[in-house]
């Protein structure tokens, strides 16, 4: 899995006792945006069919941002591939290091590590909050998820929020 928010969500939900499949569903829902990035990139990259399977794996927030920020198609392609290779390598080395090193850690709570996921999710969220609608949606989602949480199995509150926001999006699009 090479799309950071999804990876964090999968780990976050399972870590909070939410079950593997609720975590997987959250991760996939968070990955839907990459399909829209692909739409924007497909004309820019003009990818040859043979390269498409590899290019697909690199379609994430960062590579899309770097590619669409360039004016020249050749520069866009270079930015996409360079960002993709660099991030893919370093990200997965980081994941590997985390998997190996954390076994050696004492109680993660003493180190405050349970405070890391919310901070990380907030850092991923913050750049998307630059208008009124996203701010309102973020606030409403946070409230709804906490209201629902005591009454449904772990992991399900996130899916409730996803369904509600999708219903809202479709409604607004009809207008």
């Amino acid at each position: 899995m090479f799309t950071g928010a999804s990876q964090f969500a999968l780990v976050g939900v399972i870590g909070a006792g939410g079950g593997v499949w609720a975590g997987a569903a959250s991760a996939v829902l968070l990955g839907t945006r990459n399909a829209l990035y692909g739409l924007r990139l497909s004309s820019l990259l003009d990818a040859r069919r043979a390269l498409r399977p590899l290019a697909s794996q690199f379609v994430i927030d960062e590579t899309t941002a770097m590619a669409i920020a360039r004016d020249e198609p050749a520069q866009s392609r270079f930015a996409f591939w360079a960002t993709g290779f660099a991030l893919f390598t370093l990200w997965n080395l980081g994941t590997l290091a985390g998997a190996l090193v954390t076994h050696a850690l004492p109680n993660p709570k003493v180190l405050g590590l349970d405070a890391a996921p919310p901070a990380a999710f907030l850092a991923l969220l913050a750049p998307r909050l630059r208008a009124r609608e996203p701010l309102a949606i973020a606030g409403a989602s946070a409230i709804v998820v906490l209201l629902v949480l005591p009454f449904v199995p772990p992991g399900v509150p996130l899916l409730v929020v996803a369904v509600l926001v999708a219903a809202y999006g479709v409604r607004v699009a009809r207008r």
Binding site: G17, V20, R33, S56, G112, A119, F121, A123, L125, L149
Partner: protein
């Protein structure tokens, strides 16, 4: 079981990317898709912030994680980079538990 979830979710995430590059553009240009998909990460990330801060299992809780989140928010307002934000939050929680 965990690995099955990881493999399925990974394959699905990859499939979404491949679909974005491969599907006819007009499918994804559908107004409902264009309007809804960008909202999903906002809603889910906000929900993840809330549940990872104010809940333990199925119980609502208020503990040092709330203070840590506040510190993270301030760091973000000061445009601190990702790692600094996370480390500031972790350090806050660790220090408050010491006290």
């Amino acid at each position: 079981m965990i690995w099955a979830g990881v493999v399925v979710a990974s394959a699905a995430c990859y499939g979404l990317k491949l679909a974005g590059l491969s599907l006819p553009a007009r499918w994804l240009r559908d107004r409902r898709i264009q309007r809804t998909v960008p909202l999903i990460p906002i809603a889910l990330l906000a929900a993840l912030v809330a549940t990872n801060t104010f809940a333990t299992g199925r119980h609502l809780t208020l503990d040092v994680r709330a203070a840590a989140l506040a510190v993270a928010a301030v760091a973000l307002l000061l445009r601190a980079p990702f790692l600094v934000v996370v480390i500031a939050a972790t350090a806050t929680a660790a220090l408050l538990r010491l006290g």
